[in-house]
C-alpha cells in the first residue's frame, strides 16, 4: 500500500476531469443541436470542444503513463490499475481519431464517454500499487498482443457507441436529439463495419497472444480463463456477423448484440485475468 501521492495520480485525475468535461460537452452538444443552424450532426462548437477535451485527456494520460513507467520501471501491462489506465488512453486516442475523421458518428460521444467512465471511476477506486514485472513479459509479442487488443476494443467501443444511439433513438423522448444523424439503417451498417474491423484485430490479438504464450509458457493454447473467454468472444463476433447475413435481424436486436459483444470483451479484459490466478500464469 502506498500512502503518498504517487507521481502519476495528479495527471490521471486531470485526465479524468478532461474526459468528464468532454462527456458533459457532448451531452450539451446533442441537446443544443436541436436548435443548431449548420445542419451538421451536432453543434459545431461543441464538437471541437469535445474533440479538444478528449485529446487533452489522452495527452494527460500519456503523461500519467510515462510517470508511472518511470516510477515502477516497466510498462502498464500487469495489474488492473495500469491496464485500465492504459485502456483509457488507447480507447480515448482511437475514438478521438475516429471522432475527428468521421463526423457522422460524433453524437456517439454521449454513449461512448459514459462507457469510458465505467473504467474511469473504477481506476480511481484502485490503489496505484507498483506491479511486479513477470519474467515472461520480456517478450516483443506482448507488445503486438496488447497493441492489437487495444484496436480491437476501441473498434468494439465505437460499434457499440453507434449501437447505443440506435437504441436511444428507439425512445421517443430522445429521438429528436439525434435527428441530424443518418437513419438507423445507415448507422447499423457503419457500426457493423467497425465490428468487422474489430474481428480483424481480435484475430490478430489472438494470434500474437498465442505466439507469446508458446514462448512464455511452452504452449500456444491451453484454455485458461483468459484464452477461453477471448475465444468465446471471437466466436460470438463471428456468429453475430453470420447471423446478420443469414437472418433479417431487427436493427435494435443487432444493436443489443453489438453491445453484448463489447460487454463480453470488457469482462474478458478486466474481469477474467483477475478472477482466475491461472490466467496469464507468468504473473505468479
Amino acid at each position: 500500500m502506498e500512502d503518498k501521492m504517487v507521481a502519476e495520480l495528479p495527471w490521471l485525475y486531470t485526465a479524468m476531469a478532461a474526459y468528464a468535461l468532454a462527456t458533459f460537452a457532448a451531452m450539451m452538444g446533442v441537446v443544443r443541436a436541436r436548435g443548431g443552424s449548420a445542419g451538421a450532426a451536432v453543434n459545431r462548437n461543441y464538437e471541437s470542444l469535445v474533440l479538444g477535451l478528449i485529446s487533452a485527456g489522452v495527452l494527460l494520460l500519456v503523461i500519467a503513463l510515462a510517470e508511472r513507467w518511470i516510477r515502477i520501471g516497466h510498462g502498464p501491462f500487469v495489474n488492473l490499475f495500469e491496464l485500465l489506465m492504459s485502456q483509457l488512453f488507447s480507447l480515448g486516442l482511437v475514438y478521438a481519431v475516429i471522432y475527428w475523421r468521421l463526423p457522422v458518428i460524433r453524437p456517439t460521444a454521449v454513449v461512448v464517454m459514459p462507457m469510458m467512465w465505467v473504467m474511469g471511476i473504477w481506476v480511481l477506486t484502485l490503489e496505484p500499487v507498483a506491479s511486479v514485472y513477470p519474467p515472461t513479459y520480456h517478450n516483443k509479442w506482448l507488445w503486438a498482443h496488447v497493441g492489437f487488443g487495444k484496436f480491437f476494443l476501441a473498434f468494439l467501443l465505437v460499434g457499440s457507441g453507434i449501437a447505443g444511439i440506435i437504441l436511444l433513438r428507439g425512445m421517443s423522448r430522445l429521438r429528436p436529439l439525434f435527428r441530424y444523424m443518418p437513419p438507423d439503417s445507415v448507422l447499423d451498417q457503419v457500426a457493423w463495419r467497425f465490428m468487422l474491423l474489430a474481428l480483424i484485430f481480435d484475430s490478430l490479438m489472438l494470434i500474437a497472444g498465442a505466439v507469446w504464450a508458446q514462448d512464455a509458457w511452452g504452449r500456444y493454447w491451453a484454455w485458461d480463463a483468459l484464452e477461453t473467454s477471448s475465444f468465446l468472444n471471437w466466436l460470438m463476433l463471428g456468429a453475430a456477423i453470420h447471423a446478420r447475413l443469414t437472418y433479417r435481424i431487427p436493427l435494435r436486436v443487432g444493436a443489443v448484440a453489438m453491445i453484448a459483444i463489447f460487454v463480453f470483451a470488457f469482462f474478458t479484459y478486466f474481469g477474467t485475468p483477475f478472477y482466475s490466478e491461472a490466467a496469464h500464469k507468468g504473473v505468479i
Binding site: R179, Y180, S185, V186, Q214, G218, A278
Partner: protein
C-alpha cells in the same frame, strides 16, 4: 450431390455448430486434459464439413477472393491443429548440471499417437544457471546455460530461460519454476565398482525447509535419508540471485540410527560400502514441447487475417463512409437521404 452439399453448407448450421463449439470451449475451460476430446472435435468436424461445403457451393464465399482466403485458412487451421494434437509431445525433465540429455529421463510424457520426431538426435548438456529474485521473493529472469553441438564436433554455449526456449530438432525446452539443488555422491560398494550420481532435492526456494530425500543402495541395506543444510544467501526482503556455484551445503545423513554430517569431499562408512559427498550441484526442470505444425499454424492464421483484411478493403473501398449532410432536411430520413443511397445499394454487409 450438389444439392446435398448445399444443404450441408447452410449458414444456419454454421450458427448451430458455432454454438456447440462455444459449449465445447466452455467445457474445456481450465481442464483441457480431463475433458473428453470430442467436445471440441465434434463441433470442429461439423464446422469443417459445413465450411468445406460452403466453400464449394456458395458463390458468396468462393467468388470473393479475400473471404475465400479467410475461410480456407480457417479450415486449414482446424486441420493443422488436429495434426498438431496427433503428432505432439509434451514432457518434463530434470537436468542436473553437467548431465547430457537422454530421452529415458523424460517424465510425465504425453504424446499424440502419430508422434515421430527425432528425439534420439537431440543432444545437449546442462550447465549452471542463475535466477534473479526481487524483494518479496518475486522470481525474475532465469539464465540457464547449456552446451549444444556446434555442428563441427564441438560444443557451443547457449543461454536459455523464461520465454527463450532451447530448440533442437523441433523439440522446445522451456525452463520452469521447478528447479533446485542436488547432492553429488560417489558410492563405493564393498567389492564393487564406484559410481557417481546425484540426489535431487525438492524445488528451491519453494521447499526451502524440506531439502531432503532418501535412497537405498542397489546392494541392499538400510535406506539412507539425506538432508541438505544450505547456505544460498537467500534474502526474502532484498535482491538476491540463486546460483548453485555461490552456494554451500553440508549433507546430513541418517541411516540405521546413525547421524553424520558431511562436508564436500568427506566420506562415511556405511553397512555395505563407503559413500562420499562430492559437492553441491543444481538441477533445472524443463518442460518439453514438440509440435511440428507451429510455424504452419502461424502462417495460416496470418493468411486468414490477410484474407479478412482484403475482404474488408474490397467491400468498403467502393462504399464511402457516410458524411454529415449539409442539408438538414435530408438528415434522418432513410429514403430521401442521398448519402444513404450510396451505401444502401445492394445489401451492405
Amino acid at each position: 450431390m450438389i444439392a446435398v452439399l448445399k444443404r450441408l453448407a447452410s449458414i444456419r448450421l454454421t450458427l448451430l455448430w458455432m454454438a456447440l463449439l462455444a459449449i465445447g470451449a466452455a467445457l474445456n475451460y481450465d481442464n483441457p486434459v480431463d475433458t473428453p476430446v470430442w467436445v471440441l472435435v465434434a463441433p470442429l468436424a461439423l464446422l469443417g464439413i459445413n465450411l468445406l461445403a460452403a466453400i464449394i457451393t456458395n458463390a458468396r464465399i468462393n467468388r470473393r477472393g479475400g473471404l475465400l482466403i479467410f475461410h480456407v485458412a480457417l479450415l486449414m487451421i482446424v486441420i493443422l491443429a488436429a495434426i498438431g494434437r496427433l503428432t505432439h509431445m509434451e514432457a518434463h525433465i530434470e537436468m542436473v548440471d553437467g548431465m547430457g540429455f537422454t530421452p529415458e529421463r523424460l517424465i510425465n510424457v504425453r504424446q499424440g499417437p502419430l508422434h515421430s520426431g527425432k528425439l534420439d538426435q537431440v543432444h545437449f548438456i546442462q550447465g549452471p544457471y542463475t535466477i534473479e529474485y526481487r524483494p518479496g521473493m518475486m522470481r525474475g529472469l532465469t539464465h540457464s546455460q547449456v552446451l549444444v553441438p556446434d555442428g563441427a564436433g564441438g560444443w557451443e554455449r547457449k543461454v536459455v530461460g523464461d520465454d527463450r526456449p532451447l530448440i533442437l530438432e523441433g523439440y522446445r525446452f522451456y525452463t520452469t519454476f521447478n528447479k533446485g539443488f542436488a547432492a553429488v555422491l560417489t558410492w563405493m560398494p564393498d567389492g564393487g565398482e564406484a559410481q557417481t550420481g546425484t540426489i535431487h532435492m525438492p524445488s528451491y526456494p519453494l521447499f526451502e525447509f524440506r531439502q531432503a530425500n532418501r535412497w537405498t543402495p542397489v546392494e541392499g541395506g538400510e535406506q539412507i535419508k539425506f538432508w541438505l543444510q544450505l547456505e544460498t544467501g537467500i534474502d526474502p526482503e532484498g535482491y538476491w540471485v540463486l546460483d548453485a556455484r555461490k552456494s554451500q551445503a553440508s549433507l546430513v545423513l541418517r541411516t540405521g540410527g546413525q547421524r553424520v554430517e558431511l562436508q564436500p569431499g568427506e566420506t562415511v562408512r556405511l553397512e555395505r560400502g563407503v559413500l562420499r559427498y562430492d559437492g553441491l550441484s543444481s538441477w533445472m526442470g524443463y518442460k518439453l514441447y514438440y509440435d511440428p505444425t507451429l510455424q504452419w499454424l502461424f502462417l495460416t492464421a496470418m493468411l486468414s487475417v490477410l484474407g479478412l483484411a482484403i475482404h474488408f478493403w474490397k467491400k468498403f473501398a467502393n462504399h464511402p463512409w457516410p458524411q454529415p449532410t449539409s442539408n438538414r432536411k435530408d438528415a434522418g430520413h432513410a429514403s430521401s437521404d442521398t448519402r444513404t443511397a450510396v451505401i444502401d445499394k445492394g445489401r451492405m454487409v
